[in-house]
């Protein structure tokens, strides 16, 4: 039988040799970067929690977890990748599929993405395209389908570009969160994606399974929140470590992740009781907000903050790659199918503080979340991190600044790219900001 050739809308034809070459070089570089990042994290906090070892292991994209998923796939499980955290994980789990987040953080692949889209586009998008072009990300390659939520402009077109190579299920969130018709639309979207997931996996999502999935995720949320709560006082864990823990939840086996995170929290609690701080308690406390940062390459900002002199510590963030991931639980009134679907829809839509939303009062939720975080985590300053091309976050900056100015919290706008070239310059900027924060802490 002749294989059906579908004309590709976007993806260029690349000679297999070039693909292979690029794949090996970038993969090698990536492995080095992962090792380097972990080494630096170890160096920064000499008494790093022992439980972190597990996350170091799982953070390797090409290692243990990829093999595990491969094994599961052989047994007939399906893998569903997703970009934005709007993808209903509970439904994926209930259909016995494996959810993995495939948004890319590789710097090198963003250059490849330039071949398809202009450089002005957000590097997360370009990098993801690039990774797909050379088949770099094992998770993406193993995915049987992608769930793409059409949040920002980049994501919207990304789903189109991706559909050249694999099945993409799209979900369209409404831009206004709190109107009746929005919730209605989103409810329908969730129902539609449920049918699609069922079709893909061949497993029916029964109320019983869905309930089990929701409870699994609630347990994960519990562990997740416990960890975030532990970061409230004097730092027991460095921000980067916590960020890594948060982010591994997007590709790890969630039950195992929950267990390991509870164990980590136990260890951290002991340390808290013994007053073993990860860094001096008077270290300036920084909250980061803005564009998501993806492991492994885009670890530039947190590394700079925590390795700078004077040192800063990331106590919290408002990013969909870290603190927002599992924070909101699905709250069920009655365990009927309809109510569960409703609850899932509400959890993903209403609790989200993604800047792609607006409302009568603007994206008030995001501001509130940020203020709460700043107050609860006693932050000394905020770094507003934006990658070039991420318009939604960039445009909300002046509003955030106005609000934070009123609270007398210094906020610093840092824009960058998926590149290592500006590290030196960024270091100077971050250090100047931290210097200022230190001065404010001391005097």
């Amino acid at each position: 039988m002749k294989p059906q050739t579908v004309e590709k809308k976007y993806m260029p034809e690349m000679p297999p040799k070039e693909v292979e070459e690029l794949n090996t070089t970038i993969k090698e570089a990536s492995l080095k970067i992962i090792a380097d990042n972990i080494a630096r994290m170890k160096k920064t906090s000499p008494n790093r929690p022992e439980a972190m070892q597990y996350y170091d292991e799982i953070s390797n994209f090409f290692g243990k977890r990829a093999e595990e998923i491969q094994e599961e796939k052989k047994k007939g499980k399906k893998v569903i990748g997703y970009f934005c955290m709007f993808a209903p994980i509970e439904l994926i789990l209930a259909a016995d599929a494996i959810p993995v987040r495939v948004s890319s953080g590789w710097y090198d692949t963003s250059k490849l993405g330039d071949r398809i889209v202009p450089v002005e586009i957000c590097p997360v998008i370009r990098s993801t395209i690039g990774a797909k072009m050379i088949g770099l990300s094992p998770f993406m390659e193993m995915s049987d389908a992608l769930i793409s939520t059409l949040t920002c402009d980049g994501m919207t077109k990304l789903s189109e570009i991706m559909s050249d190579t694999m099945q993409v299920m799209t979900m369209s969130p409404p831009r206004v969160k709190d109107s009746k018709q929005s919730l209605h639309l989103w409810n329908e979207e969730i129902k539609a994606i449920k049918t699609q997931i069922e079709q893909l996996t061949g497993n029916k999502i029964t109320p019983k399974k869905l309930r089990a999935a929701i409870e699994t995720m609630q347990k994960a949320t519990k562990a997740f929140r416990r960890l975030q709560d532990l970061r409230k006082g004097s730092p027991v864990i460095m921000g980067r470590d916590a960020m890594l823990v948060n982010q591994t939840s997007t590709w790890d086996n969630i039950q195992r992740w929950t267990e390991k995170t509870e164990a980590l929290c136990d260890e951290l609690e002991k340390r808290k009781a013994q007053k073993q701080w990860a860094c001096p308690p008077e270290t300036p406390r920084v909250v980061v907000t803005g564009t998501p940062m993806f492991w492994p390459d885009n670890w530039k900002m947190p590394t700079l903050i925590e390795e700078a002199t004077p040192q800063g510590v990331l106590v919290a963030d408002e990013m969909c790659s870290s603190d927002r991931l599992l924070y909101d639980p699905v709250g069920i009134d009655e365990w009927t199918m309809d109510d569960m679907i409703n609850a899932i829809a509400e959890r993903y839509l209403m609790a989200s503080t993604c800047p792609c939303f607006t409302s009568k009062d603007g994206n008030e939720d995001r501001i509130n979340w940020l203020i709460t975080k700043i107050k609860e985590y006693k932050a000394d300053g905020v770094i507003y991190y934006v990658v070039r091309g991420c318009m939604l976050y960039a445009m909300e900056y002046s509003r955030v600044k106005k609000v934070l100015d009123k609270l007398n919290i210094p906020v610093y706008y840092l824009d960058t790219e998926y590149t290592r070239e500006d590290v030196g310059q960024m270091k100077t900027r971050v250090e100047a900001f931290l210097e200022m924060l230190t001065a404010r802490v001391e005097y």
Binding site: K177, D178, K180, L183, P207, I214, E215, Q218, K219, T221, K222, R225, D328, P329, G331, I332, D333, E334, W335, T336, M337, D338, D339, N342, A343, E346, R347, M350, A351, T353, D365, N368, W369, I371, T372, K375
Partner: protein
């Protein structure tokens, strides 16, 4: 005689004190157990049911006084706390809801507009309750005779089936109170009793009960949406002179809210203000303080129940999948 009154008063005060202390103790016990509100509420409701039976049986003389206080005075200070936590008819409806829940049937939500209209309908209901005796009295002098003698074929039935709950089933004793009795009749009886058409009355009352219970089977707290009892709290809310009076509030902290919408979804009478209002006091005349929203809110301290500026219960970062949801 005076000794009798004094003893009765003393007993009453004792009862009142025990009940108040019990509720307070419950709240203190409940402090960090926000997740158990529904169970505790059902327990209080069941206890209240028996307490009311007992009170009515032992203190028959003071019935109208107790009912008057419960229905007219308590709401001024506690809002519709009575409706949510003590009213036996509310308890019946909750039981109907529980049966539905056990059967895994999903409730129906009324359209928001219909809900609002029903809510306004209770004013008409309350007004007509108060007006019927007068109206029928003008038509037929005999009505006044029945009125004062408290006659009618329906009375035995209601004692038989509902016993002391009659005034609760029909919470608003329209017309005038007189010595031991509230002199007008239940909603349906209001129209029929005056002519002592016993069969018609019986049918009407049974129809009423079936309708409201069947209604509350599919629509949570169906009757409560237009029950005239809530009128008195509106009085407390509407008139400036009473602004100080409601002591029980549900408050919302704007900053902690991420508008996840859980509160709105779980509310049994579909109050939307809890979600739509940004912060501050979100108690409305529809809200009967069942505190389900506080129980389900997943953000620490976002929703709080305040009594006289003291926080009794606040929302918790609940994350243990609640066993309650299953067992109810």
């Amino acid at each position: 005689m005076s000794v009798k009154i004094a003893t009765d008063t003393l007993t009453l005060m004792l009862y009142g004190g025990v009940v108040a202390a019990g509720i307070l103790a419950l709240f203190i016990w409940v402090r960090n157990r926000t997740r158990k509100i529904t169970a505790i509420r059902l327990f209080v409701q069941a206890a209240a049911l028996f307490a009311i039976f007992a009170t009515v049986l032992t203190l028959a003389k003071w019935n109208s006084l107790i009912y008057g206080a419960l229905i007219l005075v308590v709401p001024i200070f506690f809002g519709r706390f009575f409706c949510g936590w003590l009213c036996p008819f509310g308890f019946y409806q909750d039981l109907a809801s529980l049966v539905r829940k056990k059967l895994r049937i999903r409730y129906w939500n009324l359209p928001e507009r219909a809900n609002r209209i029903l809510h306004k309908f209770r004013y008409i209901l309350a007004a007509s309750m108060l007006a019927t005796p007068v109206f029928f009295g003008i038509l037929d002098w005999n009505v006044w005779v029945n009125f004062f003698q408290f006659q009618g074929g329906f009375k035995p039935l209601i004692i038989y089936f509902l016993g002391p709950l009659e005034p609760f089933l029909i919470p608003y004793p329209g017309g005038i109170g007189f010595s031991d009795y509230s002199l007008s009749y239940p909603y349906i009886r209001g129209f029929t009793q005056f002519f002592t058409v016993s069969i018609f009355t019986t049918i009407a009352v049974i129809a009423f009960i079936v309708l409201t219970l069947a209604g509350s089977f599919m629509v949570r707290r169906f009757w409560c949406r237009f029950c005239p009892t809530g009128v008195s709290i509106t009085l407390a809310n509407r008139f400036a002179g009473f602004k100080w009076a409601p002591l029980l509030h549900i408050n919302k902290t704007e900053e902690k809210c991420t508008k996840c919408g859980i509160c709105k979804r779980v509310c049994p009478v579909q109050v939307t203000e809890v979600y739509e209002q940004k912060g501050g006091d979100i108690t409305t005349s529809m809200c009967f303080n069942c505190m389900r929203c506080v129980e389900m809110c997943p953000y620490e301290g976002c929703l709080k129940v305040n009594f006289a500026n003291k926080t009794l219960v606040k929302s918790r970062n609940w994350l243990e999948p609640s066993k309650l949801n299953d067992e109810e």
